[in-house]
């Protein structure tokens, strides 16, 4: 492309009046090796535009960012509920058992106390008997 044309396009370019096609022409010209010396200063601009257009987004697109997956929540909740129910019932049973045990223990101790007090009575009676027997023995021996 002839120089005069390029110069005209450059003026239009700076006034933002060029079309995309004209800008493509300019780009092509400045990226070639035949840039006129007095236009060299434009070269880095177009070089830069071209270079910046090469950057790409290479990360994998993630569709799950920052959304919590709630499908497992009900499952976890029901499991927690079941476990707590199980634990609660075992605890309750244990408590009931302990209560029953203390009650029976109390009953047994009561009964044993009665037995022992009765036995004591019997023992005292025996003691009297011994005293009686001793005295009888003494009398008959003498």
């Amino acid at each position: 492309m002839e120089l005069a044309n390029i110069e005209k396009l450059l003026i239009k370019y700076e006034n933002a009046e060029t079309t995309l096609e004209e800008e493509a022409l300019l780009k092509k010209y400045f990226l070639s090796d035949t840039v006129a010396p007095h236009l060299k200063e434009y070269q880095p601009i177009f070089e830069y535009f071209k270079a910046s257009n090469n950057e790409t987004f290479t990360n994998k697109i993630n569709f799950k960012t920052k959304t919590r997956n709630f499908t497992w929540l009900p499952v976890a909740a029901s499991v927690a509920l079941l476990v707590s129910m199980y634990l609660g019932s075992t605890k309750f049973n244990e408590y009931q058992q302990r209560k029953a045990a203390t009650k029976t223990l109390a009953e047994i101790t009561e009964a044993l106390k009665m037995v022992s007090s009765n036995l004591k009575k019997g023992h005292q009676a025996f003691n009297k008997l011994y005293v009686y027997e001793d005295s009888v023995y003494k009398i008959f021996k003498k």
Partner: protein
Amino acid sequence: MNQSDFLKVVLPFKDKVFRLAKRFLVSTEEAEDATQELIFKLWKNKDKLANYRNIEAFAMTMTKNYCYDRLKSKQASNLKLIHSNYKEKETSLDKKLEYMDSVRKVHLLIENLPDQQKLIIQLRDIEQYDFEEICSMLQMKPTAVRVSLSRARKTIREQLTKQHNYGVS
């Protein structure tokens, strides 16, 4: 719309979204996060997408808004400056160095433009959208877009010439 349909819609412009995000958020990681976030937002609203005439333009508008929001938030206030390496053509070494330098300078010059001009330069000169599309993306009038673009182009070129002539940066 299932995932593969959605990807067919999104894939053609995901790089453009990424580049626009990178222009504003500077670091690659930030731009990747932004792109991911944006695509995910589109995916969540996939049922409403059919109502939009031009999904790509809509996505670019969303990207722009997202970037402005990010820049406003405190979280992004300490973004790192990272310069990418640009490939250059075969020339002799010192010329090459000088040349690479000016290509990098263009990056800095664009960086220093006002947000709107930066945005328009990105959309027009890098992504090559036509004026109508840019107008619909930015909800701006064509004349306003042209004025802004012209200012941006002139600023870049003038700054380059200045630096070239005086050798000061």
